[in-house]
């Protein structure tokens, strides 16, 4: 995220909609904009009160073309709205030439655009995290909109965490109600289970094996799984080699043989699959595991006894000094099944029914009691009578 450099000194802010859009009910606009302000008040102590008269902090207007601030709107499409940072008054202007809609895939969703603009009104600049609300590009209506962790960190860095309210959990993950867990999944609880891939997408952890996938909960496997990969991720084949979600663009990448697939949520992006040699120059076919390492945000690929570091911003993306031996990752074995950067910040390596927890600060597999490697069944899949993996992971 990025901060502009100014913020409001008070947390009780007022606003007024001084000019409404044409052809839209005022009451609906009022409700959507209040909801958009609420996106930010949910994670802070900020409050937003509509005021019919007198001075307000944030003035909201719908206008067309040149509207008095020297920054004219350009008609449908193009720029949708703009807003001023606190130091410049915080006002938000929306292009009335857009087709503003509510809870619809048609037109432009007013709630999402307004929540973004109000982020500017509060002091946030554009983020380069593509999946965040403060990314500058409009990506269409999102029926299950949830504020991205990047945005939460941004707003809380300006206005605090909102101690007076019941806040999100201490972990980086934003969770909803705990999911129902089904114990002792017959396939996952086999000893020596070899998984294909495991990754976290939108705060949910998914495990792939063969043609099936499972969603993991805090202490086991979610009810209703396994499901077929083809139903959950249309277009993706079974028996994939590796997968990871790249937090910088929110997309999930799947690798199989010499090809890779890119998904936005559960939808495959146009033009995929592509050759690994095209999109991930320097990475071999049939990798064992892939993940984004929390230590530096780079993408690591493992195959047999070697690993590769991929930096999308570098040329070439894989340095000539790679591959290097996996032995550089103290305690991690060769020929891995899968690897994952989990929501608690640790990196986990999986092989033959066992897993290793890698400490990114000490750069070694953790020493713990019980020691690593541990059996995946009880700790990840809720197998047998052990009390899930939660307690072990939190140590």
């Amino acid at each position: 995220y990025a901060l502009q450099g100014s913020r409001w000194r008070v947390k009780a802010l007022t606003y007024r909609i001084s000019s409404y859009p044409r052809n839209v009910k005022r009451s609906e606009v009022d409700a959507e904009l209040a909801r958009a302000f609420n996106v930010w008040s949910e994670y802070t102590d900020l409050t937003f009160t509509p005021k019919a008269s007198g001075q307000v902090h944030i003035d909201v207007r719908f206008a067309r073309g040149e509207h008095g601030d020297g920054d004219p709107f350009d008609g449908p499409g193009g720029t949708l709205a703009h807003a001023y940072f606190p130091v410049y008054g915080g006002d938000a202007h929306f292009d009335d030439a857009e087709s503003w809609t509510f809870r619809s895939y048609r037109g432009t969703n007013l709630f999402q655009v307004a929540a973004h603009e109000f982020g500017h009104s509060l002091g946030l600049s554009h983020s380069d995290v593509r999946a965040s609300l403060m990314a500058p590009f409009y990506r269409g209506y999102d029926s299950s909109f949830k504020l991205h962790e990047d945005d939460i960190q941004a707003i809380q860095s300006l206005y605090g965490t909102g101690k007076s309210k019941n806040k999100r959990p201490a972990s980086a993950q934003v969770t909803e109600a705990p999911e129902k867990t089904i114990p002792n999944d017959p396939e996952l609880c086999r000893s020596g289970i070899k998984i294909d891939a495991i990754f976290t997408e939108s705060s949910s952890t998914y495990l792939f094996k063969g043609d099936s996938y499972w969603k993991l909960t805090e202490d086991g496997v979610a009810a209703g799984y396994p499901r077929s990969i083809s139903s959950g991720w249309p277009g993706l084949p079974g028996s994939i080699d590796a997968a990871f979600t790249y937090s910088k663009n929110g997309r999930t990448y799947f690798f199989k043989g010499s090809q890779y697939y890119r998904f936005s949520g559960k939808t495959m992006d146009d033009g995929y699959p592509k050759m690994i040699s095209d999109g991930f120059q320097g990475i071999p076919s049939s990798v064992d595991a892939a993940f984004v390492w929390s230590g530096n945000g780079k993408i690591y690929f493992f195959k047999d006894g070697q690993f590769y570091r991929f930096d999308p911003t570098a040329k070439p993306p894989v340095k000539s000094t790679y591959p290097k031996p996996i032995a550089n990752w103290a305690g991690v074995p060769d020929n891995l099944d899968a690897a994952l950067q989990y929501t608690n910040g640790y990196t986990y390596f999986f092989k033959g029914g066992q897993y290793y927890r890698f400490n990114d600060r000490t750069f070694a597999v953790d020493s713990a009691d019980p020691p690593f490697p541990r059996a995946v069944g009880p700790w990840w899949f809720g197998c047998n009578t052990m009390n899930g993996r939660g307690s072990g992971m939190m140590q």
Binding site: F73, A83, H126, F137
Partner: protein, 87 residues
């Protein structure tokens, strides 16, 4: 491939409008005053910000992202290096 400076005035306007090119391109003639290096650098900055392949060339993916509806606020609003430092 080297981009041709005057071949895509819309892209140059976009880069200027959102803070990647330090020039006022509301005057169409001012495109001639922008060096090729500055333009390549601006395209690379945009590509990096938009998480695209950083080529410095106005490729299809870059054009596609530039054509997306978006917020009118600049992406680059001045850097810490240009800001007045507190003692």
């Amino acid at each position: 491939a080297a981009p041709v400076v005057n071949s895509d005035p819309q892209a140059m306007f976009y880069l200027s409008q959102f803070g990647y090119l330090n020039a006022n391109l509301k005057n169409p003639g001012s495109g001639n005053l922008i060096s090729e290096d500055a333009l390549i650098s601006a395209i690379k900055d945009f590509q990096a910000f938009a998480q695209l392949n950083i080529t410095g060339v106005m490729d299809d993916e870059t054009k596609e992202v530039m054509s997306m509806p978006r917020c009118g606020v600049r992406d680059k609003i001045g850097t810490a290096g240009r800001a007045r430092r507190r003692r």
